[in-house]
Symmetry: C2
Subunit: 654 residues, 2 copies
């Protein structure tokens, strides 16, 4: 939860931040010019919109072909990395309460004594090694989108989707103030069928597997020629299959297989029933498979158990290959570096694959999270346009890895039982590779926003380029045990964590010297990149973690850079000073050198740098790679001091 | 989270339950006749309204003198028992996120070497013995009311406050269908000043310390003659006092004292500055103490630290004594048992005391929670009117205990340092008595809804009459670790927990025999008290906890009474079958006999009975004390099967 009441008493829900900038006078109708036009309100588009809503200097619009919110979506798998991301957007707790939580998975296979019957095999625990403190969930995509929409509408930019607009085509006019001209058509209301032109500085195509934005920038998805087909159904049923409320991979003696995914609410479940590889000559015949045929096939696979389907909430037959585009923006690979991108694609527009590993929505959201803050930084004048080239460079590789993983997993899932050397092979693969589908294998290589691993040894548990894995600490001011990483809201700020050497506050120390430099030196990145008049922690949020127990830390002796003043009353922010938790010491758990160090974390939660406390010039140089010096910036501070929300009961002091 | 999707796919927020009964055609304007009229939207009134909204057979209205929601309230202390209650109403997680959490308290006192200066003394941890798994919070009362309002509006009865009505007086006409005639006046809008008459079956006066409902039924608060005065202020300030973000009791050498309560949002805090006992001759002079005088006094007490107040969100000078009424309903003590009550009072209307123990809002909510379900049961025909007499009988004693505790605590707090034999006396009292202010000392005596302690030895950790203290268990169907008590939603149902003897499901056992009796015997309370056509778990929610690990339980062998069918598709409910958690075994932690037992819990979470598995007649007799036999009931089942919420994407199976 962010700070509140510090500009005066806030009576209502503190999650609703004061409107600011473009959020103060946001036109109800889609305007003719915008900074960012996002096409599509799926997971990739909505997270980007939610992130950009935290940059009220930027005018962001997100259009959707449908005339209202999604009522039922296809995706439902939520990996732990996504729940970690939801935490930053403030809704991990609420969505976890309503979701199905996976704690174990069961593997069923033919009974060796009677292959016509299935029997339970392995039953591995989900995430037995503690990859994440967040759960692995199943919940319909529509609810994920609802929560992102709530965050976007409650953020200073007050971003809300513009429903009823379909994207048709675009042109790029280099050098214009709004270089991208997008041609839209209204799909709903009295003006249905009428064209609309919107000129944007940047366009994000999050418009799905049949993306027209992708086509407009000449990107081509490449991959398999033959597609795999599944019958998928979300149903209510009565069954004697004992594991109907557990995630199961079920292989029958006849070679058919089912992936069973229990769903939120205690009753609904999804079944993927494998319909096999479909050749290009099939010409859609497989799509005529009926729901009755899918149910009959499911019953055959489940034998001796039966499935009495009472209600079908949704079903589909779909074919999908493994396809990925070779770039995620409008710059052909041969022209990378010659100019900066204007149009981006994300999510299914870039990568399509099987649903069986529950990855699609998750990887798509990380696409949008990766791009959102970068657009915010460039458009608010904090970073140079060259930052935007890192989006395609970072994410295209991730998509390729995903395709490779999914091909391996879905091939294994489709194998006939007799093809396995060991019946436990499928479960073994699942357990061995869990870090990947949980979303934590992503590691970005060195770039302008990811440093070299020169000093990785100072914090071995925070691998540079991977997401910052949280550990509990104790907030000194109020003795509250908290997860350090969970204080990282998706507010677009960089985090700088100073891990102290052994001296107590007030003693001469490497930390004290570093803090003095950061607070006072003209070379300090806080000074260089924070605009005049903006809050000192508005670009870099600097926190300290001491090795002592919280009761042994004198907060009045903590360097001032960790206790910045905030708001119109210049109050002291006490929420940046932490002590190691006595039972889960972050120095031990993350291999942090007791001589201290600095860990820099990107706005999208990836570790960007690990440096010694005395490497001040390296720290300053790292930020100069991608942040502009504040006084050169064309646009003012991040968040104007605003009393946007009503204040009640306040009285001036006489 | 309740079950959902079981009547078909629910696209939106599952917290919004389908409207039913009176919620389907609820008049926008206050009608002339209602079942329950609640006066006042404070904590006591709002929780009662929220609870009654779960009884859509009952028409409930709640009126408020103000014209809109409370913007800033006086109460802010939330004891763990209240957070436990919020959990049952679905908002413990959200309010915890935005609240200040107390984990330690600091005691400051005069420096023995220089009594003009204060120094830190004890620093006890809040709840070191694990009285509750819930936190101790501080958050403004207005937010508590917002969450109850959301629950009430999202419940089947769709209860929303009627703002702008003031209660003036009432008359009771015994024998009439709506015996209570309430006279109201509109306070807002075009009709301001106009009178209104509402006839109700029952009236609850939750209209505060100056309650007119109380006066109308001839109740008189009795207690101290002299009142104690405090200056209280919610402020934003800059200070060098190091514990400004910790709850502190501060005693200065000059004898002045402060109670410091940090507040939500990271900056705001409340100070109670003691202004001393005020004699009846003061005639309000103390109330003219200015905010500047309060701030000056606070600075004097804090010496050598200083407090630079930059903004006052709210302040007040108030005087309060220790007062309690001798009954909480309209039946004079001499007439108890001769007729059943029609009018009730709750919260500050019944009990007023100091704010220093942070009790007021909490005890008031338990008043409303206690009464709410009882009104629901009587008005829906589930229980006889005599049930309503238990409200005053149970809660008046609790209020008297509270007054006694608060008198002791506030007397201690007001003592001069030199009056203490031991400087740690105040802190010792605080630590020693923590169960009381945490809200867990309440223990209701035997009555028609609380059994005798004859078999208490079968479950020593579930004291009869105290609230059911939760323990983690594992839900068998999906291997999810859950807190057993947290599955108890505030839906008005009784809970019956069967703790199994050692046999596995499918083996002959005491549990199996009990389950067969409960499911099949004509004597079974499930059969006796569940109306024809209603869901089998609509009155009694029966759950089982096995001693085995969850992987060793064959759910297909579990007795059918624990796997009831639900909804129009007659789906199996799998959410009532649990296994002991291997690391926190409920049998060990709660002293449950390995031969098994039955624990009955009231709708307001208090343990009502502990019985052996073979004491079937005693169990049936207990419920017959306060539940009517279903076929005599004037009104139908609890929750009609309804498709109230839109269902999307559904297809009938061909």
């Amino acid at each position: 939860m962010q700070q509140f009441h510090h500009h005066g008493y806030v009576s209502g829900d503190p999650r609703v931040e004061p409107a600011a900038g473009t959020g103060l006078d946001r036109p109800a109708e889609l305007p003719e010019t915008v900074d960012v036009l996002i096409v599509g309100t799926g997971p990739a588009g909505m997270i980007a919109a939610a992130q950009l809503a935290q940059f009220p200097e930027v005018s962001t619009r997100i259009i959707e072909r449908r005339d209202s919110r999604l009522r039922i979506g296809q995706a439902d798998g939520i990996q732990a990395r996504s729940v970690e991301t939801f935490q930053a957007f403030g809704f991990a707790g609420r969505i976890t309460e309503e979701a199905y939580r996976i704690t174990e998975m069961c593997f069923w296979r033919p009974d060796p004594d009677d292959p016509s019957r299935i029997v339970r095999g392995e039953r591995p625990v989900d995430d037995p090694t503690g990859i994440s403190e967040f759960p692995h969930l199943i919940v319909n995509q529509a609810r994920v989108l609802d929560y992102f929409a709530e965050f976007a509408a409650s953020s200073p930019g007050r971003v809300r989707p513009d429903y009823g607009y379909e994207f048709r085509s675009l042109q790029i006019t280099q050098g214009a103030e709004h270089p991208v001209t997008a041609h839209l058509v209204r799909t709903a209301g009295e003006q249905a069928g009428q064209g609309r032109v919107v000129r944007a500085k940047y366009v994000l195509g999050a418009d799905g597997a049949h993306s027209r934005v992708r086509d407009a920038i000449g990107c081509v998805p490449r991959g398999d020629k033959a597609f795999h087909a599944w019958g998928v159904m979300d149903v209510l049923a009565v069954t004697d299959f004992p594991d109907i409320r557990l995630k199961c991979a079920i292989q029958s003696g006849s070679g058919g297989n089912i992936l069973l995914i229990p769903r939120e609410g205690g009753h609904l479940f999804r079944m993927y029933v494998d319909l096999g590889v479909v050749s290009p000559e099939d010409k859609g015949a497989i799509r005529r498979t009926t729901i009755d045929q899918i149910i009959a096939k499911a019953n055959a696979i489940l034998h001796p158990y039966t499935l009495d389907v009472r209600h079908v909430a949704w079903h589909s037959v779909y074919e999908v290959g493994h396809r990925v585009t070779d770039r995620f923006d409008d710059i052909p690979l041969s022209e990378v570096g010659t100019r900066t991108p204007r149009v981006f694609i994300a999510g299914d527009a870039c990568h399509t694959h099987s649903a069986k590993a529950g990855q699609g929505m998750n990887v798509s959201m990380q696409d949008g999270f990766n791009l959102g803050w970068k657009l915010g930084y460039v458009l608010s004048g904090r970073s140079p346009e060259s930052l935007l080239a890192t989006y395609s460079a970072e994410r295209q590789v991730i998509a390729q890895n995903l395709i490779d993983f999914d091909r391996e997993w879905s091939t294994l899932m489709a194998k006939r039982p007799e093809e396995f050397a060991d019946p436990a092979e499928l479960a073994d693969f699942y357990v061995r590779t869990q870090e990947f589908p949980a979303g934590f294998m992503t590691q970005y290589p060195p770039s302008m926003i990811v440093g070299e691993a020169t000093h990785q040894g100072l914090a071995t548990g925070f691998p540079i380029g991977k997401r910052f894995k949280s550990v509990p600490v104790v907030r000194v001011c109020d003795a509250n045990p908290l997860h350090l990483g969970h204080q990282h809201r998706a507010d677009g700020r960089w985090r700088v964590y100073a891990f102290a050497d052994g001296a107590a506050p007030g003693q001469p120390s490497a930390l004290a010297a570093w803090a003095e430099w950061l607070g006072g030196s003209p070379e300090s990145p806080v000074r260089a990149h924070t605009p005049a008049g903006a809050e000192r922690d508005s670009v870099l949020d600097v926190k300290v973690v001491y090795q002592q127990r919280h009761v042994d830390i004198d907060i009045t002796a903590v360097p001032e850079v960790f206790l910045p003043r905030t708001g119109p009353f210049e109050l002291i922010s006490y929420d940046k000073v932490f002590a190691a938790h006595p039972e889960e010491d972050i120095f031990d758990l993350r291999g942090i050198d007791r001589a201290g160090c600095v860990v820099v974390v990107r706005p999208d939660q990836y570790v960007a740098a690990v440096l010694p406390l005395d490497a001040t010039e390296e720290l300053a140089a790292f930020f100069r790679q991608h942040l502009l010096v504040a006084d050169r910036r064309p646009v003012g501070g991040r968040r104007p001091v605003s009393d946007g929300q009503p204040v009640t009961g306040g009285q001036p002091v006489a």
